[in-house]
């Protein structure tokens, strides 16, 4: 890992997974790869957090899991969004947008310089 990455902030992992799966079914490794690529390696999803999160969301009924065959002909567990998962994603996105907008307002109002990346 040459470029430094941010650890995924607690609580945003769910929304990232849901969003990633909204385009189709993926296995765990693919999920972490997609997130890494899409954020241009800015966000690093730790496996130690990813799998428990997948299991948790499956238990909640947001995800449906199914075993299938991967690109290289291996048995892999694929995840996809359930109907509840889709609803959940929509709600989470709304919350996230409201949250970031609010934070942005605060930051703008105080006219403080934006924090520099280390």
């Amino acid at each position: 890992m040459k470029s430094p990455s941010l650890d995924v902030v607690r609580g945003t992992l769910d929304i990232l997974i849901l969003k990633t799966l909204s385009r189709g079914r993926l296995h765990g490794y693919a999920i972490s790869s997609v997130i890494r690529q899409q954020t241009e390696e800015a966000l690093l999803v730790e496996e130690g957090a990813l799998y428990p999160a997948l299991y948790r969301m499956e238990a909640k009924g947001w995800l449906q899991a199914e075993w299938g065959v991967s690109e290289n002909n291996r048995r892999a567990k694929y995840y996809q969004l359930s109907r509840e998962g889709r609803l959940r994603l929509r709600a989470e996105v709304k919350t996230w947008e409201a949250y970031t907008a609010a934070v942005a307002k605060v930051l703008n109002a105080t006219r403080l310089p934006l924090p520099q990346e280390p």
Binding site: Y51, P52, R74, R75, K77
Partner: protein, 888 residues
């Protein structure tokens, strides 16, 4: 729906092995990472190490995932299980709605059965199971002085000795039942009451609702004029006015100060005591040899009733040595207060519970047969389900759910019936049975009802369900669910019928024996003629009428006034009327002068006026009646009844014999027998007449007058009973002393009816239950035979086509139907002999194993069964051979 299917697919492919799944998934991740690294130019070994390092704590992640996965698995199984039940339930509801006719029939049948059982159970709960509303009620005992195994009231001397010398009781208290004249606003009424020792109430662990109870000082002579009222009397007579506390009321014409009101829970029975005054035993009463006291006690902690009994038995022997004249041959019994309170009703209630239980069993058998028939009709549906992969257990569960559904609906129906019954019981108030009015549908009864629903589900549904699930799929699907030989000679159905018949026979036998008893009681000669005889009790206050002469003179005036009333044919006085509820009855031991008695004999003593036997129409067998020449100054005379005469002088003429009555007069005086009268069934029609001794009231001294509280019954035979019952008695009392009370006023005919009313009601109940059983059984036999016939149409058609006569076919079907009936009758007869023994104590004039009764009910049952077979059998004969064979 799609989610379930998806999950099922997942389950079926991989099974519930979460651990392996997690391991595999993570391994896939690592391998993919290694592949990626190798593609980026890493060496295999270092790529593997880097992948592991990058992943972090593999074991912990794996464990977390497994944990979440397993929990999910469990909750899904749970949900699946519940969903299965819900499916069964909605399916059952649909099925039952679809066949609403059968459903209604089943719910009515089972509902009646369950309702009957729950109704009786709620009474059993109120009367027998629920503990008395006192602190540690199991410590409360009753203590009786026994003679020849029968409980008897206790002499003051014995009570006093028990209280001082026994070590088994915290407290020992006594009650002397008495009737008080309560005067209010010029009108005098009588009220049941008691004279009680100071710690009577604390034996029950009760403190008064208002005020206080008696102190030890108040329990001494001279008797303090203090009174404690029952809650009921306070409410009904004094309007629940709290001001009554400390004020005075008039009892037996004297002012008594009200010092306390007892709480409502002390009103255990409708006929219980309504007021209490101090007992304050006098020295004179201590020497009485006749018992007057009911003794209750509270056991010491750690002392069992058996230990107390052992101690009292020892005491009984030492008392016999110390006071032989009052204790010869006597024992002591320590009884459970609650059990003694309920008495014989316990057995009656339990027998009734057994009887309704039988009806429920019969109903269950009927429902089982219905379900069996329906199960057979549904063979195809079930076979299809089985073919589609439903397991046997699953099908049984499905069918049992239907049964449970039925049982629950029936229980709901039964509970409605129970509430109706208990509200009727509450409003009618069967007074004699303690706490019956407390019967209600409470949590305990509800629990019992639900338990009953489960039991009847299993009883009626399990076997049909198991059999339906064991259907041979192939043959059923091939035959399209039509007759298969397995259903023709169906042993299960037959055994249900046999069981129903046996149960019904037992019920009918019980009812039959009770009916025979009622008939026998009807035929019993009471020993007197009750028509047009009015009776009522009065009492002369002890403070106004202090000498025997005064008492006798007043009563003679009363008798004269009564005899002279218009409409009165003849009149008399007696200390106890036959079948009276009065507790004034005395036992005594007549000592004969010649020949000397070997053993003691108890006899009931009555003081009567002249004309008593004429008025009651009690036949005089020998000698003469009392007349106006039998005065206190003349020879003391007595009349005995036939039983007593036979016991005392089996081979001699009783008239002219001499009697010594040590309890009646302290001296060595003798009483001369001047007459013998016929026996009277004094203690109920179904009880043998007791030995009785009559003395003229003119010769009774003041002490024996006190025993009966100077009270006597006025007896008048009138020309008709159209006139108001109380008129002649009331009028006679007014002419002598307007303040004299009149209580226990009743026609003798009413007393006669009352004495058998409970037994008769009980007989009626059992007869109704027997009839319910009979109807249910007949319906069961009918439906089974009809089912056989419908299933055997082909066979019957074949027989007819081959030349069998219709009557031969008829006989064949009836014989087939009657076989289980015959088996049931044999079983039922055997069971009846055993069960009837439990009834023995309630039978009169018929033995428990009475062959005539058993033969009669067996015949009735067989006849009804034959009819139930005949009706569907006639349908069999009408089968058109051609149509039947074509259908096959």
């Amino acid at each position: 729906m799609s989610r379930i299917l998806l999950w099922r697919r997942y389950l079926r492919m991989f099974g519930p092995d979460i651990e392996a799944d997690v391991e595999e998934e993570l391994q896939f991740h690592l391998d993919a990472k290694v592949d990626e690294l190798i593609a980026a130019g890493w060496k295999l070994e270092s790529a593997r190490a880097e992948a592991r390092r990058h992943f972090g704590d593999l074991a912990r992640v794996s464990e977390t995932c497994q944990h979440i996965g397993k929990r999910r698995e469990r909750s899904m199984e749970h949900a699946e299980y519940l969903r299965g039940w819900w499916q069964d339930f909605t399916y059952a509801a649909r099925q039952l709605r679809h066949r609403w006719g059968t459903t209604l029939l089943v719910v009515l049948t089972l509902g009646m059965g369950i309702g009957a059982v729950v109704s009786v159970f709620s009474m059993v709960d109120a009367v027998l199971l629920r503990p008395l509303p006192f602190p540690s009620p199991d410590r409360i005992v009753t203590i009786w002085s026994t003679r020849q195994g029968r409980d008897d009231v206790v002499t003051p001397r014995n009570f006093d000795t028990w209280r001082r010398e026994s070590r088994s009781f915290d407290r020992l208290a006594a009650l002397q039942r008495s009737t008080f004249t309560l005067s209010q606003a010029g009108a005098a009424t009588q009220a049941a009451g008691g004279l009680v020792s100071a710690d009577y109430f604390s034996v029950f662990g009760l403190s008064p609702e208002l005020g206080r109870t008696f102190t030890v000082e108040e329990d001494r002579r001279p008797r303090a004029h203090l009174v404690i009222l029952s809650h009921r009397l306070w409410r009904t007579r004094f309007g629940g006015d709290k001001q009554i506390l400390g004020s005075q009321i008039r009892l037996n014409r004297e002012p008594y100060t009200v010092i306390g009101i007892m709480p409502p829970k002390f009103d255990l029975r409708a006929d219980a005591e309504q007021l209490w005054v101090p007992l304050a035993l006098s020295g004179q009463e201590m020497s009485w040899t006749g018992g007057i006291l009911y003794v209750v006690g509270r056991l010491r902690p750690q002392i069992t009733r058996e230990q107390a009994q052992a101690g009292m038995s020892v005491l009984a022997r030492s008392l016999e040595a110390q006071y032989p004249e009052m204790n010869r041959g006597r024992g002591i019994r320590v009884g459970d207060f609650a059990a003694d309170l309920v008495g014989e009703y316990r057995q009656r209630l339990l027998l009734l519970l057994g009887a309704v239980g039988f009806v429920l069993l019969i109903a269950c058998a009927n429902v089982a047969n219905l379900l069996l028939a329906r199960g057979a009709g549904r063979a195809q549906e079930l076979a299809v389900r089985a073919a589609l992969g439903a397991s046997r257990v699953r099908i049984i569960r499905q069918l049992l759910t239907e049964s449970l559904f039925l049982a629950l609906s029936s229980t709901a129906f039964g509970l409605v019936a129970t509430m109706w019954v208990t509200s009727v019981v509450r409003s009618v108030g069967v007074g004699a049975i303690p706490r019956l009015t407390d019967a209600s549908v409470n949590g305990f009864v509800l629990g019992g009802a639900l338990g009953l629903a489960l039991v009847s589900t299993l009883l009626s549904g399990l076997l049909p369900a198991v059999r339906a699930a064991h259907v041979d799929i192939q043959s059923v699907l091939r035959q399209g669910g039509r007759s298969s030989p397995g259903f023709v000679r169906d042993s299960v159905r037959s055994s249900y019928i046999a069981a129903e018949v046996a149960l019904t026979l037992v019920l009918l036998a019980g009812a039959g024996l009770l009916i025979r008893t009622a008939i026998a009681a009807e035929r019993v000669q009471p020993g007197f003629s009750p028509q047009h005889v009015v009776t009522g009790r009065t009492a002369l206050p002890l403070n106004t009428y202090t000498t025997a002469e005064q008492v006798v003179r007043t009563y003679e005036q009363l008798l004269e006034a009564l005899a002279n009333r218009p409409g009165v044919v003849s009149a008399a006085l007696t200390s106890k009327v036959p079948l009276g509820t009065s507790t004034v009855g005395l036992a005594l031991k007549p000592g004969t002068v010649t020949p000397p008695m070997k053993e003691e004999l108890a006899a009931e003593l009555r003081y009567i006026s002249s004309g008593y036997f004429t008025t009651m129409q009690i036949p005089l067998r020998r000698g003469r009646e009392f007349n106006e020449h039998d005065r206190s100054s003349s020879t003391q005379v007595a009349i005995v009844n036939e039983i007593l005469a036979h016991r005392l002088w089996p081979a001699q003429n009783p008239v002219g014999q001499q009697l010594r009555l040590p309890e009646l007069d302290t001296g060595n005086a003798t009483w001369q027998v001047v007459g013998v009268v016929a026996d009277v069934r004094d203690n109920g029609l179904m009880n043998e007449p007791p030995p009785a001794l009559y003395v003229p009231l003119a010769q009774v001294s003041i002490n024996p007058w006190h025993w009966v509280e100077q009270s006597l019954y006025l007896v008048a035979r009138t020309r008709t009973d159209t006139m108001a019952v109380s008129d002649p008695l009331q009028a006679a009392l007014r002419t002598v002393d307007p303040e004299l009370p009149l209580g226990d006023l009743r026609l003798m005919e009413e007393r006669l009816a009352q004495s058998v009313s409970i037994a008769r009601f009980y007989t009626l109940l059992l007869t109704i239950l027997g009839m319910c059983g009979l109807v249910l059984t007949a319906a069961g036999i009918y439906s089974v035979v009809a089912y056989f016939v419908s299933r055997q149409r082909g066979e019957i058609g074949l027989r007819l086509a081959l030349g069998a006569t219709p009557s031969a076919v008829l006989l064949l079907v009836i014989r087939q139907g009657m076989r289980p009936v015959a088996i049931g009758i044999v079983l039922g007869l055997t069971a009846s002999v055993a069960v009837a023994r439990l009834l023995a104590s309630q039978l009169y004039g018929v033995t428990a194993a009475d062959p005539a009764t058993l033969a009669a009910v067996a015949t009735v049952l067989a006849a009804v069964a034959a009819l139930a077979c005949y009706l569907p059998a006639r349908q069999a004969v009408k089968v058109d051979p051609l149509v039947a064979l074509r259908d096959e």
